[in-house]
């Protein structure tokens, strides 16, 4: 299991060709109090950079983008009922999707923890 990050402040915990995807603690803190989450449906497929969801805080709306070509295996519907989870546990319980990665070689384009830390510092 390895964790990857994106410049859009998403994290992916990868196991084989599947992954759990969410937004980073840094992103959640920058957004402020999350009041609304809109998720896409299970089974939908996306190309890299497609919009896969919306996170809105008291301050602003932010889109969530596909970090690579993917299919949604499961959406965390609990977030839609309880958006505040995103602030409480962004890198744990408040994951957004379980996904199937179309081409695992695309992971090479993502950041590791050190590169991500360098980005947000």
């Amino acid at each position: 299991m390895a964790t990857y990050y994106t410049e859009e402040h998403e994290w992916l915990e990868v196991e084989g060709d599947t992954a759990t995807l969410g937004i980073t603690k840094h992103a959640a803190e920058a957004l402020g109090e999350v009041v609304f989450v809109e998720l896409q449906e299970t089974g939908e497929t996306f190309d890299k950079d497609d919009e896969i969801g919306v996170v809105e805080s008291v301050k602003a709306a932010s889109e969530l983008y596909a970090p690579l070509a993917m299919e949604i295996l499961e959406a965390n519907d609990a977030l839609e009922d309880n958006p505040g989870m995103v602030n409480e546990d962004p890198e744990g319980n408040a994951w957004f999707y379980k996904i199937k990665i179309a081409d695992i070689s695309e992971l090479e384009n993502l950041l590791d923890i050190n590169a991500y830390k360098a980005l947000i510092d």
Partner: protein, 361 residues
């Protein structure tokens, strides 16, 4: 673009953990570590302190200042008693709004507060009046919320005697300030005009009160939206008339009858015949906030308007919006559809404000 300016409270904002952003050319705190929602609720429940020094403060002196100002605004100033302030706006020849502002009769002069983004335009506009227009180098802070009177009166007892929209000179910690019972949150409270070199010490002194917490521009925006107050550049601008924006209460009877202000043709016509569109409150029925630019449709899918301000109301406890819709659709409880990111969301037209105003009249 030139470097954004800093208010005299900049260092204190940073010290308090404020997240600084460029707003209208000024580095201002959007929120502090407590966060927008907490700061917002604190204002409604106790009191919040805002730095609004980015706004323009102007003194007008000369002969017949009130009458001359009436040539730019559709409000009455000749009848404005000393010590009273009034909300008004500059109208353009097309009947739109150039800016909204506060005008106070300060006795030997008129004291005017204008929006940060419109400072230069407004000052040049007033300079055409053949009066003395002096922009003040003073800081401005707002103390807003149900505890504001107790907090400010601790230092300036006269605060308790002022009523909503009254203004007076007062002394805080040996410093002369202008205290106006006024605000932009829907709550009781004050705006305090303070010499720049004294504002840090006075702000620190006020913040010693346990009921007062600093709040940033984020909370200022969500508070004014819940209170149904217009933001210049969003809900009102050069294309929107005061009649469309439901601001005719700021046009005193005599002005409405006699005219004599820029754009009177359109404004008086809309007063008698009704405007084509109206600013209304719009409450999304779901959880999705409808922000500026979201289109409003009727049951048949026809576009009838758009959102000008929208977000989440922390005290209201849900998404809230304001926007213009065709006048025949501007009916409370009317069902409409919001097209948020292309998808229809049910919503209802509601009377403003979303949260009752709490002024000390």
């Amino acid at each position: 673009m030139s470097e954004p300016q800093k208010t005299p409270l900049y260092d204190l904002h940073v010290e308090l953990g404020g997240k600084m952003v460029d707003f209208a050319g000024w580095m201002m705190p959007v929120n502090y570590p407590a966060g927008v929602a907490t700061e917002h609720k604190h204002c409604r429940e106790k009191a919040a302190l805002f730095d609004v020094s980015h706004m323009g403060q102007v003194e007008l002196r000369g002969e017949n200042v009130a009458g001359k100002l009436e040539s730019l605004c559709p409000s009455s100033f000749r009848t404005l008693p000393e010590g009273k302030a009034r909300y008004t706006f500059f109208t353009n020849p097309g009947g739109g709004i150039m800016d909204d502002l506060i005008v106070a009769n300060a006795g030997d002069h008129f004291f005017v507060v204008v929006n940060a983004s419109m400072r230069d335009q407004d000052i040049n506009h007033m300079k055409r009046l053949d009066i003395e227009v002096k922009e003040l180098s003073r800081a401005l802070i707002a103390v807003q919320g149900p505890a504001a009177e107790a907090i400010v009166a601790t230092h300036a007892p006269i605060a308790a005697e002022l009523k909503f929209m009254q203004t007076a000179l007062a002394e805080i910690n040996g410093v002369e300030v202008r205290l106006s019972r006024i605000g932009y949150t829907g709550e009781d409270g004050y705006e305090i005009s303070i010499p720049e070199d004294k504002v840090v010490e006075i702000t620190r002194l006020l913040l010693e009160h346990p009921d007062l917490a600093p709040a940033g521009l984020g909370a200022r925006d969500s508070l004014r939206l819940e209170a149904g107050l217009c933001l210049y550049g969003n809900d009102i601008d050069n294309s929107t008339s005061p009649v469309e924006a439901n601001l005719t209460w700021a046009m005193q009877k005599k002005r409405r009858e006699e005219g004599g202000f820029p754009g009177e043709e359109r404004i008086l016509r809309e007063l008698s015949e009704g405007p084509a569109r109206k600013l209304v409150g719009i409450k999304p029925e779901g959880r999705a906030p409808a922000r500026r630019g979201v289109e409003v449709a009727d049951g048949a899918g026809n576009i009838i308007g758009s959102i000008t301000s929208g977000g989440f109301g922390p005290s209201f406890g849900g998404p809230i919006s304001m926007g213009y819709v065709n006048a025949d659709m501007a009916i409370a409880d009317h069902a409409v559809t919001l097209l948020i990111r292309g998808r229809p969301h049910p919503a209802t037209i509601v009377k403003l404000p979303f949260v009752a105003q709490n002024y000390k009249r």
